[in-house]
Amino acid sequence: MADEMDRVFKALADASRRALLDDLFREPGQTLGALASRLDMTRQAVSQHLAVLEAANLVSTVKRGREKLHYLNPIPIHEAHGRWIAKFERPRLDALAELKQRLEGPQGDRDG
């Protein structure tokens, strides 16, 4: 269990990997090539980052013909959320998050 959580947080501790997850949220089911061109990264870099994300179970894949499609898999993040946040003070945290969002405005990178 500890290993799994370690892999999740290590995978998330990198801005490029978080950008990949953001882009898979915007556009699920992308190939490696599509991700590389959208994010202006080399295929090799994307491939290495995806391997880390897959090992952490933050990215899931399906094969379609010769293509491998990548998806954001939010389940490990949901489990972390359930462990530390959901079980206590949820209403108050929701109110704070809402307030923070209103004060800071839209995230900006959400819809490109």
Binding site: P28, G29, I75, G82
Partner: protein, 148 residues
């Protein structure tokens, strides 16, 4: 095959048979999903997702059933079951991985509204299933009260 809208994966410390039972048994599914999945799970049979004694919230047909490895079903609101544009497809693939079982849930053919509803619901359902199978208990009220 349509490109799936969502592919969610969780690793559960339980046997494939237990994972299959959690999805298909009316009593076990009710414990982590707050609705029962009811069917004889034969290909071509209908299935329902419902509170006991209430009309179904979701209905569909079993497209594939290969216990304990693969279950595929259509998925629709009761009012939309005859409208092909409103019927989505859910597949569960269950595979032993050492002492754990990998459960992959693939949801395809979703409408934009369905995409939104489902993206919020599946992580709670799958996390709660994992918690139930691994601890025998569930997270209280994973849906924030919508089922009361």
């Amino acid at each position: 095959m349509d490109k799936p809208s969502y592919v969610y994966v969780t690793y559960i410390l339980a046997t494939p048979e237990k994972v299959w039972e959690a999805i298909t048994d009316a009593e076990v599914s009710a414990r982590f999903w707050h609705r029962s999945n009811v069917s004889d799970w034969q290909v071509g049979s209908t299935w329902e997702h419902k509170f006991p004694g209430k009309p179904a919230d979701l209905v569909g047909k079993v497209l594939e059933a290969d216990p304990p490895s693969r279950l595929v079903m259509t998925w629709a609101g009761p009012a939309h079951v005859d409208n092909p544009d409103r019927v989505s497809v859910v597949a569960f693939d269950i595979k032993p991985m050492g002492e754990k079982t990998r459960l992959t849930m693939t949801h395809s053919k979703l409408t934009p509204q369905g995409l939104k509803d489902v993206s919020e619901a599946w992580p709670a359902v799958l996390s709660n299933m994992k918690t139930l199978l691994e601890t025998g208990d569930v997270i209280p009220d994973p849906f924030g009260g919508i089922h009361g």
